[in-house]
Amino acid sequence: MTAIAAGPAPKATGAKDPRAAVASRRVGLHVFLAAVSLLWLAPLLLAVYASLRPYQETAKYGYFSWPHHLSFAYYREAFTQSGMAQHFLNTLLIAVPAVLLTLFFASFVAFCIARVRIRGGFFILILFTAGNLLPPQVMVTPVYELFTRIPLPYWMSDSLTMYDSYWGVIAIHIAFQTGFCVFVMTNFMKALPEELREAAIVDGAGVWTQFWRITLPLCRPALAALATLEFAWIYNDFLWALVLMSSGDKMPVTSALNNLKGQYFQDYNLLAAGSVLVALPTVILFFILQRHFIAGLTLGATKG
């Protein structure tokens, strides 16, 4: 694009001052982007705004009005009444192992497909990717029945089965999310330079060393981007926990939000506070990891 603006563009615009045309187009672009960004942020900002105001006030004046009272009272209420601290902990217990194991397994599968070039690798890729395309609702019942029949020792689960345990939810997330990550990692690894790994092979490195010491460090941008996405997805999922767990105190935080809805259906402001609390960790994570994220995007095909 820049090449066009600098090169033959002046000839094309002809009589008009080309610099003025470029400048006005630039202003238009910024107006458009700023408007769209504001529109995109508006629902969130309005939710935050609503959550800071008492219900009586918004009911009387509407949500789009000047504030009379602002307080964090709803946040305190949402946090304590639903026992959110416990639910946040539950989410971490599920999401952290699930993301780490998913990325580990997916990277290795991708490594086998893209680098070791094992026989049938292409069909393994299809198997994983196609599996990820299946709608989860298709598997719900058999997974439920399967998990109620798999016994676990007491130290692993107080329900003594895979059902109603963190293990079951973690397992289904790994099984399901590996597909997408294999797909992304295979494409990423195919674009990596081969020379380093060939040098390692010449030096007698085994498959594990080639994978863990040589290839994986080069995949850091892709892994950071995938970790962000996967964490957000697993954190945000509420179907599997809803189906595979029965004890309320083991539920991840998204389901706790549903509890809040059940108890205080009419108080949208409390619900807004709960929504903001639940959204906060992924938003913070996104802003912290954004640097890695953008690095991952710009690095793309690594050269040398």
Partner: protein, 321 residues
Amino acid sequence: MTAGAPAAVAPAAAPEQGRRRPRAGRRRIRRLTTRDRLVITVLLGLPLLFTFVLVWATTLASIGLSFTNWDGIGSAKFIGIDNYKELFTNYPPFATAIWHNLLWLGFLALVATPLGLLFAVLLDRKVRFGRFYQSALYLPVVLSLAVIGFISQLIFARDDGILNTLLGATGQGQHPVDWIGDPHINIWVVLVMAGWRHAGYVMVLYLAGLKGVDPSLKEAAAIDGANARQTFFRVVFPVMRPVNIIVGVITVIEALRAFDIVYAINGGTNGLELLSVLITDNIIGEASRIGFGSAIAVVLLLISVGCIVAYCMTELREEKT
């Protein structure tokens, strides 16, 4: 995974032999050691096992269950295609749900995805505040659809919702639009919110894709006298084929899986029926009609398989070329 054992590593030394016998003639320059095979078998076998058992075997089991009248407690009785007969003749929400899922797919594919592409193209030009715009547009992607469902209620509520307040439609003597309660309108509200999230996701993918496009291609097109539009549609867009495929796949997935957002708003009733909701209602609802719910799941599966096969065909073509 058994295929992993005799795997041949054939990078550098293959060409001279490979030229004469392209398929069979790949000389094995280095056999894998026993330890290598063990590592591959375990670390490839575990995820394969997970996927086989939890994804593929359970899908097949669902197909089997759809031909029974199982209610989850008693014994399952084979009843042939009775579930499907009832589904197509005597279950009105079904047709509505199919239509809504297709509408969802159409909206994401024709509105939200092109919008995301447009954002990416605009932001790819190194504009000032580009990172701010990018963050703002991407932010909804990290939110859960359930949270988005709750937020929608704030905005679109009939009596004191933000949108109706803005439109000046609240108050005495007015007839405010019931955005969420009206079964003819609410699906569009939900689609707008789903698209709000989807466009940001597509934008990020295309930003990555655009960064990967070789700048010399664009320069060459400019020298040949192509304008910006021609350069984009004839050169840049076709070159981004891998990204296009990913975006297409994600659009289909999102459309078929849509569930949380309608479930959070009203449990997927009153104009917001979706296949996923009908399945969940029949299976974990009070009726516990597992056989019947599985039949709906199979229909959803067939639609997905159609898309999956289409995807595999393009991948296979790619692999061959």
